[in-house]
Symmetry: none
Subunit: 210 residues, 4 copies
DNA sequence: TATGAATGAGTCTTCATTCAT
DNA sequence: TATGAATGAAGACTCATTCAT
């Protein structure tokens, strides 16, 4: 035991520390490569060999860091969510009762739109895979809940007594999401998206102001 | 390439009247088999051999009726849409200015919910594939437009001067769709879906009543 | 027995005669269709279904007239040979000792060139299949022998004592064939084909004049 | 399409020095297997699974070394050409002005005959595929040009002023090729091949000696 | 005789995962 | 730990030929 832990202290740690760092970097690189490839050609057209090559690692090592191909994707999506959440959470945490709800909402929708534009392809992949894979669906759901939770926190200060708050926020989230989805990913020439955006905001404002 | 597309045209069965019935029945069987298998195991896990076997035909004959595997799916989805549309259109065409909007909407949401429950798996596949395949996306889009068009016709009688009518109907459609999607496919125990339904209806009612 | 032969005389003949005619026409149409399709897209890319369709007959009936797909080709090639031989034989049979050999040769090469240009694709197919299928090779060989025989007949009048006449004619045939093949099917920009043609003719003239 | 050609470049093994040997050996084995199978049963009847099995590798690995089935054949034919060229080039490079042209020619024809006998079946396949596939035709053409070029080099020393040298050498090549083809692959009992050979040589000698 | 729908074995190719080195 | 060559099952699609009508 001693000798082992000694080894740990004496030899391994020095060696492992940098390796662990490298390991983390490697994992990160794989995730990054996966994300980029999925953004380029979609999940199904991205092979594990592609990912390893792009990450600059061997195919085999990928399976030390991830259970299987989907596991890489899951990690990549998790990271994507984080990136998408960051500006949102920042905005939401700065919420203040005195702020104008509409102005805030406006800014929120901007953020959503930006993020849809920026992550267009992975977003589509996400929608596609969520509908068909329960693990990914669960992750998407969790992400949604996190955002909705944050929104509720922000709103509870403002209107604690609002009935069906959770459901309202849920709908709000989906209205925004739907609008962004439609306007950025599948724009329809017959639709006036700025008009639609106003309608969405009116809808939400009425709902949250009763 | 040329010879291929030529073949497509030439090879497709020139269904003559007396044989048409059988041919249609067989085509129907293949579509049916595809639908069932897709509902069971999803499109990607369903092989052409599976479909042929389930339909009780040979692999080869499938390619007399359909261009390729996706073409079967497209036909199956088209049929699914029709089945889903039928009761909707019936309801919408019976619309009358004196009818209560809320009552009508209520019935509409019932229909949507039923349809989501009944076609749960193929609906998910549809969402999944739409996000990733432009042919299927186009079909889904066209379906959506048909429904939205019908809704607009119904509403134009009632409120011809309503501003942004198209955008409003669009949002209405998506609100209903989202609610049904959530409540039937991925119910969340924290959500009170009947409350959510009320909120959806209020939202819509307010939007359409100005 | 009697009644049978009676039948033959009474009923069958009248009915069969026109049918046989039709049968022959049908067979001819199939051969024609085969030839055209092979000229267009090559033998391997031509399906029996294509042939039947183009000939305006059913797939099944093709197999009453021909043993298998290759058998159609064999018949088509046989016909092609005949078409190619006709002008050649006409020229050769008009041969006369007083004619200028060079002038005659010139005309012969014209014919060969024309025929190569006219039947470019089927000719290539012929070469391709001959190299790999003994039935087709045999047919090609027989065609060659027929032409060479005719040439020999023509030349024997002129130079009966020419040693190795058969071999010389054989070489003559192949020189002409090679020249036509190269110049019409795979022209090489570095080659001066009119110079080559002169060389071919000189070669032959020297050989046949000793 | 883009991703495909990209993959081609990426996927091809970046053979590192230490592994190169094994990789080359394996590639060689696959080529060898292809050659043998093509010689046995022809290209079209040889499946990729056959080739892999005979080479003692898995189906999949074949596609790390070759783009597709035809690419294996192309490599195999390329090698065949090299093997056939080697003795020819040796002979041609040892050419000397003082040498007897006829004697040299005699040796050349021996080599050609040997090579035709040795590579009978693949040679036939080559002819067959050249007539029908432009990639293979291009390769055959290039091979031909290489030989003809070498011949010209050898002859230019001797008879630099010979008019139409290129065309003459071309014809020479085809005369020899035709003779070998006929005599070894499809011998005709009516033909005296040694007489024919003499005629060929006379023909060539006369042509090259003006 | 005629039809043409139907057959189904056979083909090339892909790719997540493993394992000898 | 790391490599990347190797595996091999699986999948979409073709087509000469047959056979029920």
């Amino acid at each position: 035991m001693k000798s082992e832990s000694e080894k740990d202290k004496d030899t391994r740690p020095q060696i492992r520390e940098p390796q662990q760092k490298r390991a983390i970097e490697k994992k990160e690189k794989i995730i990054q490569a996966c994300m980029e490839l999925v953004s380029e050609k979609g999940y199904r057209s991205t092979t594990t060999v592609d990912i390893a090559k792009k990450a600059g690692v061997s195919t085999g090592i990928v399976y030390s860091y991830f259970k299987d191909k989907k596991d890489i994707l899951l990690s990549a999506l998790y990271q994507l969510f984080d990136q998408m959440c960051d500006p949102l959470f920042e905005l939401l945490s700065s919420y203040d009762n005195n702020d104008d709800l509409i102005a805030k909402l406006d800014r929120l929708m901007d953020l959503f739109e930006e993020s849809h534009l920026k992550y267009k392809k992975p977003h589509q992949e996400l929608v596609s895979l969520s509908a068909v894979d329960s693990d990914i669906a669960a992750m998407t759901k969790a992400f949604e809940k996190r955002i909705i939770g944050k929104c509720m926190e922000a709103l509870e200060q403002r209107a604690p007594a609002l009935p069906n708050l959770k459901e309202k926020v849920h709908l709000t989230y989906h209205l925004v999401e739907t609008y962004c989805h439609e306007s950025t990913l599948y724009p329809d020439p017959d639709i006036d998206y700025s008009a639609m955006r106003s309608e969405v905001m009116n809808c939400i404002a009425r709902m949250l102001n009763q």
